[in-house]
């Protein structure tokens, strides 16, 4: 399939959840997950992301990798809205365990096509129990 073509929808949308549980730079998981999300976004499915455990560290603001010789890929999370990935579930308990608050997270938004392109937050804070429910509703869970 040519990269320049939009992939046809299957007409049968499935719910995909990408689970992110790792800190961003110690292992390759976070970056790999993000790349798979961007590639998978071509396949017209219902895609959302979950961040819990150390995964919440992926979306904290003010990341600066200039001293460690690695690419700072945190700005790319803010492009997810362009790829129609508009739901990022973040677990409150994981933030609290790490001394973080929602204010420590990057501002990640999307433009709602159905609401005159109003800019809305993509991050949804959920409790552990709510996150369990979100996971239970999925057709496919991809863990990183």
């Amino acid at each position: 399939m040519s990269m320049e073509e939009d992939l046809p929808g299957t007409g049968d949308q499935k719910k995909f959840l990408y689970v992110n549980r790792r800190a961003p730079y110690g292992t390759i998981y976070a970056l790999e997950s993000l790349e798979v999300v961007l590639i998978g976004a071509a396949f017209d499915q219902d895609v959302s992301l979950a961040f819990f455990d150390d995964g919440v560290y992926q979306i904290v603001k003010d990341q600066d990798t200039s001293g460690i010789g690695m690419k700072n890929f945190s700005p790319t999370y803010r492009a997810l809205g362009d790829y129609e990935v508009t739901r990022l579930y973040v677990e409150k308990e994981s933030l609290e365990e790490r001394g973080l608050t929602p204010d420590d997270l990057m501002e990640i938004t999307y433009e709602d096509e159905d609401d005159d392109w109003a800019e809305k937050p993509s991050v949804r804070l959920v409790s552990r129990a709510e996150l369990s429910e979100v996971m239970a509703e999925q057709d496919v869970i991809l863990s990183f």
Binding site: R21, F52, R128, S132, M135, V140, S143
Partner: protein, 100 residues
């Protein structure tokens, strides 16, 4: 839902996170180093026991055997499955979540 866990509970909090996110009626299959979490009388077995009953615990036999873990060392309520049983568990549940 079927959860699989492949990390030792003594090195990573993966198993603990899985237990905290699983819902009653879910199945948890311990594989690879995850099988250490099925052993009784360890620092984590008390916590695991709290979920026993709500969750169905399985451990993969070949991984237990490879690590010298005898059935008699397993916590109560843990069922041992072979590779065929692993496949059956995946087939039986609509969704699988791999805790890595």
């Amino acid at each position: 839902m079927l959860h699989t866990v492949n990390k030792s509970p003594f090195e990573k909090s993966t198993f603990e996170s899985c237990l905290n996110h699983a819902r009653p009626g879910d199945a948890v299959l311990l594989i690879e180093d995850g099988v250490y979490g099925a052993v009784k009388g360890t620092a984590v077995s008390g916590q695991v026991a709290k979920f026993n009953g709500d969750l169905k615990l399985y451990a993969l036999g070949p991984d237990l055997a490879a690590r010298g873990i005898k059935d008699a060392s397993l916590m109560e309520g843990v069922s041992v499955v072979d590779y065929g049983g692993f496949v059956d568990l995946v087939a039986k549940h609509d969704v699988s979540q791999a805790w890595l």
